[in-house]
């Protein structure tokens, strides 16, 4: 028994060596970018004059602090995703940041200096309505939080106001009836007084009222086109005082709901008496409430002005107005935050933070200079692709020479000479650059990546990452440095749109530019539109995409190419009609010829229906197969085919007895995962169906009992790996299915779904996985020689590179001679998680949502991008760098040995000759 054990140990020790990053490799091949999402609340740190902190609360439930000089993140707190972690309000006073979280569930106080939590209090149940600071004698001691508990009052909108006295006012309105003002004592929370004011015109106090001056409630009404003023603290029965807008010479844009903007610089003091009234989308008026509290004086008219804001420092208040410079500004800013401060010479300086519609956060300093911009749209990447960079000018020149048709001997010679000269020039320039850079001290050499200098490197390790975000903004990011090279904002993208990014033409077809197509589909209506662009420069292509009047059900990229080397995209609408893009004559002709061999499938998960179609010559379709999974029993949760750019190097696996077990490599295979509708832990199950996408034949049908989702799975080569929750044992489990044809191939030259009558052998094994997972993907390499790893995103933010070897259904329970020969790891029910398998060491990716893998020019290397809240890019080497010489490779030694051997051979040859000659003379 000792021999196999020792072998086993050696084997494992070999394994442990792999992966793991050395300290000096950190950040060499990888980078991470952290994002926070769209800003909901922002505050400037006004605690000290020289402070450079910004505090943001975002829609991704993140509370973060930024450096206002550079835009870098100081710290960030990522709360639970979903409504449980929603930030309702962020209030800042001094060094305390107060936050109401989770719809009024928790009240938290953060220390703004370090980002630590001061305290946390669980609030009484009820939905959050409003909150404000309450101050007494210039010191802020209390915070008032108003919550709606059950059915206590049937008010619909609220306002909390405190003006520095020992009372807190709550204003509630019963729509179109009356307004109730309740004053609470700060001492014990008792109601001091309660009054009711008739206000039949008022529907919402939140959206149409503000408090200005010394406790005057100012409301605006659209119907009567009037402002109403009401002193909140009045002793006797208060009354609304109507001021018609006409009397102020103001006019509201038709169909516009006027909005009031006011400011309360300090909770211990009453709000300032100046306020803004927005009369149209780009029309604001600055008004002032006179000291009598009833009359209003217009101060200034601002048109055009999109956004207004107030900011106060000391005794001075700044009203900021944002006006558009040119009409073409398409990214309308929805939010504006201004921070004013007193300069040394007592003049007022200001800084502005602008949040625009495309989720970009821009910081502007006094003379209108943009200090930094953060692209927060990247916090929500939906899909991405990696595109090869174009060749350099010289490479392209050579390509062009060989690519074009020959036109005579003499021009060819000239062309060759000219390209040789260009090459020589480029080489000399390169040498000069090397020499120039070598003279500079180390560290100063910095290669700025710009769109002009982009070119493919020797091993195609640097690529263009095209990222599509939920807000409809597209980004082109350099995979080596992570710098954003281009961005393009698509307007009119619905918030619930689904995106599909398709690479129609790669960079391989010089001089044709590469071409990407983004299919944007409305989730509700199914109506789609296409955006065609160049993935390297981000420019919209001049090619007009086809109009798509009907909802699109399916899109498929055919291997058919048109005369410009663009792959043909087929779009199937709800009447099963097919639209081709590009739809040139050439393409249509090709399609007609190939029609009978173009099959596609449609899945309607709401009906449990999978059906297959064949294209007819007239580009109509016919239904040829149908599989129906009754929705009463199970529902389809996911369908996944194989990646089209995947290569499988080895057709089979050599077994211990030297026979070959051939893989079942069906490129049309679909993995369909279902979950039972019955959620009872004893009866719940997860179904895995392997269906041929051409013939509709169910290749395999397996049911994982006592299991439920969420199911994550990867389908590649001849295997499917899926992960589920075991309801009985309450743990996560991994299961692997492998398909083999057997020891003989049916047809070794070509695979056809139509001619493969025998079902494959299916092997399956299941393992316990000690952690839940959030996403999963398999590594991908150029030729598929390198062994595969699974990249598993864990909720902790780590990305685990799990060798596929551990997920092999042929792992033996009892070690035999054959299995040892085959290097099979003996079966162990628990899958290990080794910390050295984390490819992102301490660079955790918060809320990882997807992992994208792309092959590089090196067979050993696979490029990985993990995205979620953060973006992390790295390279993985599943079989280590077998095709790369190590950094410390001893060139001197090997060449000196070579030379020595060479000379030794020469000398010994000479000596042998002499000896032979001598012997001949003897």
């Amino acid at each position: 028994m000792s021999k196999p054990t020792s072998l086993f140990v050696i084997f494992f020790s070999l394994f442990v060596m792999s992966e793991a990053v050395f300290e000096d490799q950190v950040g060499k091949f990888d980078w991470r970018q952290q994002y926070v999402g769209k800003t909901l609340f922002a505050h400037f740190d006004s605690h000290s004059q020289s402070s450079k902190k910004l505090f943001l609360a975002t829609d991704k439930n993140i509370f973060a602090s930024f450096n206002s000089r550079t835009g870098e993140l100081f710290w960030r707190h990522v709360d639970k995703a979903g409504p449980e972690g929603t930030i309702d309000i962020l209030l800042l006073h001094g060094q305390d940041a107060l936050m109401v979280v989770g719809g009024g569930r928790l009240l938290r106080s953060w220390d703004t200096n370090m980002g630590g939590l001061n305290w946390e209090a669980v609030l009484d149940t009820g939905s959050f309505q409003a909150a404000c600071f309450v101050a007494m004698q210039d010191t802020v001691k209390h915070v008032a939080v108003l919550k709606k508990a059950g059915t206590v009052r049937h008010w619909f909108s609220y306002l909390v106001y405190s003006g520095g006295e020992e009372e807190v006012y709550v204003l509630g309105v019963v729509p179109n009836s009356h307004l109730t003002i309740i004053a609470y004592s700060l001492e014990d929370g008792e109601i001091i007084k309660q009054r009711s004011v008739e206000a039949p015109w008022l529907s919402s106090v939140e959206s149409s009222c503000v408090v200005v001056g010394h406790g005057v409630l100012m409301c605006v009404d659209t119907a009567t086109l009037a402002l109403y003023a009401l002193p909140i603290q009045a002793e006797e029965a208060p009354q609304f005082n109507q001021i018609l807008l006409q009397s102020l010479d103001l006019e509201v844009s038709p169909g516009f709901q006027p909005v009031l903007v006011s400011s309360q610089p300090h909770p211990a003091r009453s709000p300032i008496s100046e306020f803004f009234l927005q009369l149209g989308p780009d029309h604001h008026v600055l008004l002032q409430l006179n000291a009598d509290g009833y009359t209003i004086a217009p101060l200034r008219d601002f048109q055009p002005a999109f956004l207004v804001s107030f900011s106060t420092t000391g005794e001075k208040t700044v009203a900021a107005v944002m006006t558009p410079k040119n009409e073409t500004s398409d990214v309308f800013p929805p939010q504006l935050y201004v921070h004013a401060f007193l300069k040394k010479d007592d003049s007022v300086g200001y800084r502005v933070l602008v949040q625009t519609q495309d989720h970009a956060l821009t910081f502007i300093q006094q003379p209108g200079r943009v200090v930094w911009t953060r692209e927060e749209a990247l916090a929500d990447v939906v899909t991405m692709e990696m595109v090869d960079l174009p060749l350099t000018g010289t490479q392209a020149e050579l390509e062009g020479e060989f690519g074009k048709k020959a036109d005579g001997l003499f021009p060819m010679v000239l062309k060759r000479l000219s390209s040789q000269v260009i090459l020589l020039q480029a080489w000399l320039a390169h040498l000069w650059k090397l020499f120039y850079e070598a003279r500079k001290p180390h560290g100063q050499v910095k290669n700025e990546v710009t769109i002009e200098t982009l070119s493919r490197d020797e091993f195609n390790l640097q690529k263009m990452m095209v990222m599509v975000t939920a807000s409809g903004k597209l980004f082109g990011i350099d995979s080596k440095s992570g710098s954003i090279l281009w961005k393009h904002y698509l307007e009119n993208v619905q918030p619930n749109a689904v995106f599909k990014l398709i690479v129609q033409r790669t960079t391989a077809h010089f001089p044709h530019p590469p071409q990407c197509t983004l299919l944007i589909k409305d989730k509700d209506t199914g109506l789609a539109s296409l955006h065609v662009f160049n993935p390297i420069f981000g420019r919209k292509s001049h090619i007009a995409p086809p109009a798509l009047p009907r909802p699109i059900l399916q899109s498929l990229l055919l291997p058919v190419i048109d005369q410009d080397y663009a792959k043909v995209l087929l779009l199937v609408d709800d009447q099963y009609k097919v639209t081709a893009f590009p739809s040139t004559k050439n393409v249509l002709q090709q399609l007609q010829e190939m029609a009978s061999s173009i099959f596609f499938y449609l899945i309607r998960s709401d009906q449990g229906n999978l059906s297959g179609f064949r294209l007819r010559k007239d580009l109509s379709t016919e239904r040829i197969w149908e599989v129906v999974l009754p929705t009463e029993v199970q529902k389809i949760v996911a369908v996944n085919g194989k990646r089209p750019n995947e290569h499988v190097h080895s057709q089979g696996r050599v077994m211990g007895d030297r026979s070959v077990l051939y893989k079942y490599l069906n490129p049309n295979l679909l993995a369909v995962v279902t979950e039972s509708t019955d959620a009872h832990p004893e009866r719940a199950f997860v179904g895995v169906f392997l269906v041929d996408g051409v013939t509709g034949r169910i290749i395999h049908e397996a049911v994982q009992r006592k299991a439920r989702g969420p199911v994550h799975f990867v389908h590649s080569e001849n295997w499917v790996v899926y992960e589920y929750w075991n309801t009985k044992s309450r743990r996560n489990e991994f299961s692997v299915l492998e398909l083999f044809e057997g020891t003989e191939l049916y047809n070794s030259t070509v695979f056809s779904s139509l001619d493969r009558p025998h079902l494959p052998q299916v092997l399956q094994q299941t393992y316990i996985f000690p952690s839940p997972i959030t996403t999963m993907e398999a590594t991908l390499t150029e030729k598929g020689i390198t062994s595969r790893h699974l990249l598993v995103g864990l909720p902790s933010g780590a990305i685990l590179s799990l060798p596929k070897m551990f997920l092999d259904p042929r792992r033996p329970e009892v070690v035999t001679e054959h299995s040892r020969e085959e290097n099979l790891i003996p079966y162990a029910p628990e899958m290990p998680i080794r910390t050295e398998w984390f490819i992102n060491y301490n660079q955790t990716v918060a809320r990882v949502k997807g992992i994208y893998t792309a092959p590089s020019g090196l067979e050993s290397t696979c490029l990985v991008v993990a995205y979620g809240l953060d973006i992390y890019q790295t390279r993985v080497y599943p079989s280590k760098q077998f095709d790369v010489l190590k950094d410390d490779y001893d060139y001197v030694l090997i060449s000196s040995v070579l030379f020595a051997l060479f000379f030794a051979t020469m000398i010994s040859k000479r000596l042998a000759q002499v000896k032979l000659l001598n012997r001949a003379w003897r």
Partner: protein, 251 residues
């Protein structure tokens, strides 16, 4: 390794062979075949229809009747008629233009007897007509059910499956179907095999653990330790006072 045969056993291939009937006008209901093991679930019959048209527009006609028997052991058999002269010619024509031969069965439940067995809709599958002709009507029809006994899919393949363009001269070869019919129920995916692993670990542990337990550290190296101790004792006894002084100085 044990999982290999198990997954195959569960495929539970119950091949029921063709029944050749001379003149079957329509499906015959209530025909029982095979063993009469459980009488609770009497068999029922659903039509198997096929369609092969030169213009590829589906027009389904009766091919035969499937006798389905639900219950603990689901079984299926098929009674079908011969192809008529006209059908044979059509099939050959369809094969010549590389048309499709489609079959369909209605969606039924094999177990649920209370509710209406038949749901709306059909399950469809196809095979190239030329391969059907070239295989001399030797086809394999597989019915797939889900966990609760609903038919979810049907598939048809011919053996051999390729179209080589060989001409079928003999008309007799195209008269009767040579059908192999199977019904496939879902396989139960394996659970992690913890019990077996623990058992194996225990055995290994016992094997390895016993000799080590018997030989303690002292038992193993007594021959080195005893002389060393003896030597130390001897040397310590010789000059006790000197050693003590040295120790004290060292501190």
């Amino acid at each position: 390794m044990a999982s290999v045969p198990r997954s195959f056993l569960l495929l539970s291939i119950i091949p029921t062979i063709l029944i050749l009937c001379a003149d079957f006008a329509c499906c015959n209901t209530g025909r029982k075949t095979g063993d009469g093991l459980d009488t609770d679930f009497s068999g029922f019959s659903v039509p198997l229809e096929h369609s092969f048209e030169v213009d590829d527009v589906s027009r389904f006609r009766m091919r035969g009747a499937l006798q389905l028997r639900g219950g603990r052991e689901t079984s299926v058999s098929l009674s079908q008629s011969q192809l008529s002269e006209e059908d044979r010619n059509t099939l050959k024509e369809v094969a010549a233009v590389d048309g499709l031969y489609k079959i369909r069965v209605p969606r039924v439940s094999l177990t649920d007897r209370q509710t209406e067995r038949q749901m709306d809709g059909y399950l469809t599958a196809f095979v190239r007509a030329c391969s059907l002709v070239e295989s001399h009507l030797s086809d394999v029809i597989t019915l797939h059910t889900d966990v609760s006994g609903y038919l979810i899919g049907v598939s048809i393949v011919t053996i051999p499956g390729a179209c080589r363009g060989t001409e079928v001269e003999d008309e007799v070869d195209l008269e009767a179907f040579n059908t192999t019919l199977t019904i496939i129920v879902p396989t139960n995916a394996p659970q992690p095999e913890t019990a077996l692993f623990i058992e194996r670990m225990d055995i290994e542990h016992e094997k390895r653990g016993k000799p080590q337990e018997q030989k303690s550290f002292f038992a193993k190296y007594w021959m080195y330790i005893v002389p060393l101790v003896l030597f130390l004792m001897m040397s310590g006894a010789q000059d006790q006072s000197g050693g003590g002084a040295a120790n004290g100085g060292g501190r």
